[in-house]
Each structure stands twice: as C-alpha cells, then as structure tokens.
Symmetry: C2
C-alpha cells in the first residue's frame, strides 16, 4: 500500500482482515488530506447535477457507514465521533433560496429526502444561526465523523491486525511491464493510494499516472464548551458568494471550512482565507465570536477530472489505483477499502465502482469495452467472487501476497 | 534561578559569566511570555506620563542593548535579529493625531527625540501603509529584536558557560527565615524570575509573594517573502480604538499584536481577537491580505501594580526577586540580568533599580527608608562594588554560591 491516508489505511485494514500481508509506505502517515478534512458524510447535500454515478456510489457508501464504524470501533477500541445529526443548508438571500429549492427538486427527482425550511424553522432547530437567514434545506440523512479520530482508529486497527508501516517516501519496483512491489518489498499487488501525491510516486509508469491534482482547502478548528455546543448540526451556506461549512463535534470542536483553491502543492495558510472564514462563520453563527481559535491549516484534496474517484486496476500488472476521491474521501474510504480488498481477493471490482475504473483516463478503448459490459446482464455487486474475473489485469487471488 | 524566560536566562548567563554556579529550574524553558512577545525595544513610544522612573530605566536599557546583543551573539553564535529601524506610530483620525502631538510634546519635555510626520511623509517611508493614515510620529531610537531567537541564543550562551537546567516545577527550600535553594539544590541565593507565575511557586513565603498578575496578549505571526518585505519599520496605531502593532522581521515574519486582557491564567486564543487583529492589521497595512498566516498564540505578561518591575532583594534571606516586567521584559532583560548579577556579587543593586526594589510592595517602612537614601549623595550606579551593601538582606558575594 502506497499512502497512509484514510483510503490507504482503510484498504490496508480490510486487506489484512482478509488474510493479506500488508505493508503501508508513507513518510508521514495520516497527515494528508484526511487530516485536514471536516468529516462530512454528505452524499445528498454534495449531490451535483450530472454526477449520478457518483451519487449512486456516495449514497451506497453512506448506507454502509454505520456498520463500518461499529466494526472499526470494535477493532480499534477508539470512538470515531460518528454523528447522525443531519445537515442544514441555509440561504442568506433569494438567489440562495432559489438554489436550495432547485436542489430540493433534484433530490425529489432522485428519490432522496430533503425538507425545505423557513427562516424560523431553521432557527428553531439551530437557535445560534443568524437572524438574517432566509430559508434552509434540511437533510436528515447526511452525517459526519471526526476525521482525525477516524484516522487514529484505522491506524490502531491496522496495528492490531498486523499491518506493517514503513515511514519513508515510496518508490515502486517495476520490472518489465509489471509492478513487483515497492521500496524493495515484493508484492503480488501494489495499491497506489497517495491522494494528490499519487502521480508523483517514484517509479510509477508514465502510462498509468493518475490525473489527480491538488485542490487546496483551508480550514479552521475552533472550540466551544461541549456542554454549551452552540450548534448541534452541521450547517452549510454561501456567504457573500463563498461556500462555507460549519461542523460541530461532540467534543466542542467546530470545524469551519469552505475554500476550494487550485494552487498546486501549496499548503500555506493565508491571512485572506483565515479572515474570510472567520468573517463568514460569524455572519452565519454570530456566537462563534466567543469560541476559541485552535488551528488554521490547509489540506490538498486529490481532485479528479470528472470529480469521480479512480479505484481499480491500473492496466499495469500488479498495480491497483485508489485515489482521486476529491471532496468525498472520508465518505468513500470504507466502500473503497471493501472494493479493493474484493478486487485483490477475487480479481473483480464491485459493480458500483465500474464507472470509476482508473483506465477510463488511460485507455481510449476502455469506454467502449466498458459500455459493452454495462449492457451485459448485470452481475451482482460481488459476483467477481465466482472467480471469473472481468478484469484480466487485476491482481489475482493470492492470499499470501504482500500488499503494499 | 527559578524561571527560564528571557529574564531568568539572561540573569543565569550573566551570573555564570561572573563565576557563579547556576542551575535554572523551569518545567518548560523559554515558553512563557518571552516566547509570545513581539520583541519591540520601545522606551520612547512606550513612555507614559507619570512613569519617569521607568522611562529612565528603559532608556538606559535601550542604550545598553547593542553591546549586550554583540556580547550574546559572540557567546552563542546565533543572530538575534536586532534591528535599528525605528518605530512609526500612526494616527487614523484627528483624535489620534492629537494624541501623537501630545506624546511628541512630552518627548520634547524629556529631551527625547521624535518627529511628527504628515500622512505623505509616513507613506513615503512605508508605502504599504493605508492611505487613510492622517499623521505619524517617528521615533528613530526605538528598535526591535527577534524575541524567539533571543531566547534561543540565551539558552545556547547558558549552555556554553555551564548553566545547568532542571526541567521541572520549582519549589523553594525554606528553612526558618531563609530560602536555602530550590528542588533540593542548596544555593546561597535563589532568584525568583518566573514571570506571571512567580507568586505561585511552591514554598514561597507568603510575606514576599510578588504582586504580579497575568496580563494576556494575543498575537499573530504572519509571513511574507523576505525579498518583498511590505514593511521595513515597526508600526503602531490605534485602529477603531484598539491598540495594534505590526513588527516586520528580516526573515519575512511579521508579528501582529496588541491585545491587553485581564483574564487570569488563560492562554486561549479567541476567534474575536484573531478576527480583530486580522481586520485591524489589514486596515493599517492592506497588503497583509496576501501574507501567510503562520501562528496565533497568547502569552501572559507579568503585570505589576505600578507597571514597574520588581528587581532586588525580597526581604527574605537568600531570595532575590526579578519579575513584574510587564510589557518591557525583552527590553529590560539585559539590564535586569546585570543588576541581579551585580547584587549577588557585591550585595548592592545598581542605582537605576532602586525605585523598583520589590520591598516597596512588602514593607510599609521601605519607602520612608528609600526616600532617605535617595537624598544621600548619589552613589555611582555600580558603587555597591565597594562592599558596603546598602541592602542588608541581599545575598552576599559568594562566588561559590549555587544560584538557582
């Protein structure tokens, strides 16, 4: 496994649970985008027109989250702060209100549940919201998890199941047309899960360099007395044209984020972003003026050309890709981990990941073959288990494989 | 020595240079107020009506700073970022301008040099200042030092001269009416230099508990490209009624501070202060919007009832006090260190510290005796060296004493 973010760790854990020997290579485990995320599990409020395949995946990911959390917490002995308190999107003006109404109609058209609220109904639910709020859209099914405790729990679970960590820069060991491991450790399959850094891992064959790019997000961590939590639900809004989310934890931590910046590998925190986030957050929740200021930081999301992740065979023997999760890494980590473990064990990827095969970016013929497959009688999501792998390049079912 | 802030470290270094065996007890060396300061050396811009004794002391301290810096840099091999670029106080409105004119007249009455500037003259000197500036007061003699590098250099200098560090909570060893050391290490003299924490050191006799209190200051550290420094001089102002200073370092660091809060032992950084400092700093220097945001932190200055430090014999045998430096700790550290070393070596404190004898707060008779002494023919500042100590309670000239 190359990469110890939430994707790499969850995948390492699931693979080890299935009996693989797993080594994870990362110079600074758990300190990538997973560390800076807000931990929103929001398939519905994150739904975008035209991204229905992704919506299908994120909805399924959210549905499986409670079982994953229960499993992980039992394995790690660490609570990950999973909260099923829903999410409230609010509007400051008539334009924003119209956007919420459109989103609500879109939800309806897809059979998703959301509820339009008046200003008063918003403030009845969250009295700390600014009186200037005009309307809201309430999504009961969107949840949150404490991303840092999630990473911590995954590391503990990995340790307990025997995953080894190699805290150094990764380099792939390539022989001929096959990736044979990384950093001198042989492996039947190597999973590239280095987030925005994935294309730059040493030794990666040029032909399968995943087209991910760093998308910077600056984020604040504030704190209030957990006995006087100010907010009980995650709230999002556009404030003066800028997206903002405010995510309250049970611990009293309040995560404030929203910036989406194309800046390359730049993790500097800027005066402008901190000032804007503080201004916007106080405009949304005036009582935040009395909160403690704990941290300002910047993470790099692994952005993808079509906003969908890249999970599956790379097209190069022995190399599997799991990156490009952009804004949905925390939400998609469990379902990605299960899919990669399934792929390594059976040679087949679950059906919901077929639209997110990395080869859609590498192989001009892939789309044609893929649409052919999609018209064939649909296999059950786990049908790969019968051993007839639809992915000839995928790693085989080798229980003794050292997965790195 | 109890306390490894800038006062304790400078004093330990100077005492060790004079041949004393010195042990410094501090659970977290160099992480008190010295760590959070801005490093302004500003006797003139900090001059306040009615505090002429303090002004006399701070002027003398500033005069000696270059020699101290040269000495320390040679001893430690570390540059402390001493900059003689002056300080510019600016006014945003007519009220502020009137305050600057009064301050200028006050400076004149004391023979201090300051220059009133027009808005244009301010912006000629510092083009990044906001056009809204109405006037300024230029003080060429007020300088700055990088407080963190100063602390680092003092630690290195202490190490090189054989000062020992005991990284634990201090407790005084008291036998009868005499302090005999701290933490089980016997000492002829023990110096209490624990800043705002001084009154709470374990074992301290109640009668000589120095009346210092924590005065919170919240401070930001920003960064710009050192090749495009935005400002070359320290600038201060009142912005919307709030004091603000912006101190540029050669390294590109820009320190922004100004809050003065009576909050007890509270080092929380608040949303309100960070937002206000960012707003005010951008109002003063709009280009700061493009700076990096590096750190927000809060320190506790050791405030004193009369804003003057407490440096000298405590009145309890074996215990010397050096605290209460409030906003002038960085500036006064060298002169304090010299005074304490002189006191320990000769039994007499230099004349300029007589008004800052700690016993002014403990001993109702002290003031009377003190005014008597002041009418006697003035001794030279170092006259205590003749061995006739005017301070019968002070530690004696014991070269082998372990000073803690």
């Amino acid at each position: 496994m190359v990469g110890a973010g939430v994707i790499g760790l969850a995948t390492a854990w699931r693979c080890a649970q299935r009996g693989f020997n797993v080594t994870v290579v990362d110079p600074d485990p758990g300190r990538g985008a997973s560390h800076y995320a807000a931990g929103m599990l929001a398939p519905v409020t994150e739904a975008h027109f035209g991204e229905e395949s992704l919506l299908h995946l994120t909805i399924e990911a959210a549905r499986r989250y409670p079982a994953f959390v229960a499993d992980l917490q039992a394995a790690a002995g660490i609570s990950v702060g999973y909260r099923t308190t829903g999410m409230l999107a609010v509007a400051f003006d008539n334009d924003d209100r119209a956007v919420l109404a459109e989103l609500h109609a879109y939800h309806n058209s897809l059979g998703l549940t959301s509820t339009l609220l008046s200003s008063r109904e918003c403030r009845d639910r969250e009295p700390a919201l600014a009186p200037a709020i005009r309307a809201g859209l309430w999504v009961e099914g969107d949840h949150q998890v404490d991303n840092r405790r999630l990473v911590q729990a995954l590391r503990a679970a990995c340790d307990r199941v025997g995953v080894r960590f190699l805290p150094t820069e990764a380099h792939l060991d390539v022989h001929g047309n096959r990736v044979r491991g990384a950093n001198g450790i042989p492996a039947a399959a190597t999973v590239l899960a280095a987030g925005a850094w994935s294309p730059h891992v040493a030794g990666l064959p040029e032909a399968v360099r995943p087209p991910v790019r760093p998308v910077k997000g600056q984020i604040l961590r504030l704190r209030v007395d957990p006995n006087r939590p100010l907010l009980t639900r995650a709230v999002r809004a556009f404030v003066r044209g800028r997206p903002l989310y405010v995510v309250p934890r049970e611990t009293g931590e309040i995560v404030v984020g929203g910036t989406v910046e194309e800046m390359g590998f730049d993790q500097r925190v800027t005066v402008e972003a901190v000032a804007d986030l503080l201004d916007d957050a106080r405009r949304l929740v005036p009582g935040l003026v009395d909160a403690d200021f704990v941290e300002a930081s910047a993470g790099l999301r692994p952005g993808s050309p079509d906003n969908g992740p890249m999970v599956g065979p790379s097209g190069v023997d022995g190399l599997v890709i799991a990156t490009g999760h952009y804004r949905n890494g925390i939400l998609l980590a469990p379902i990605t981990a299960d899919a990669v473990a399934e792929l390594l064990a059976t040679g087949a990827i679950p059906e919901e990941f077929v639209p997110f095969d990395p080869r859609r970016f590498f192989d001009p013929d892939w789309s044609a073959r893929h649409s052919h497959r999609r018209t064939a009688p649909a296999a059950s999501p786990r049908s790969g288990k019968d051993g007839t792998s639809a992915e000839p390049d995928a790693a085989r079912d080798e229980k003794e494989a050292a997965t790195k």
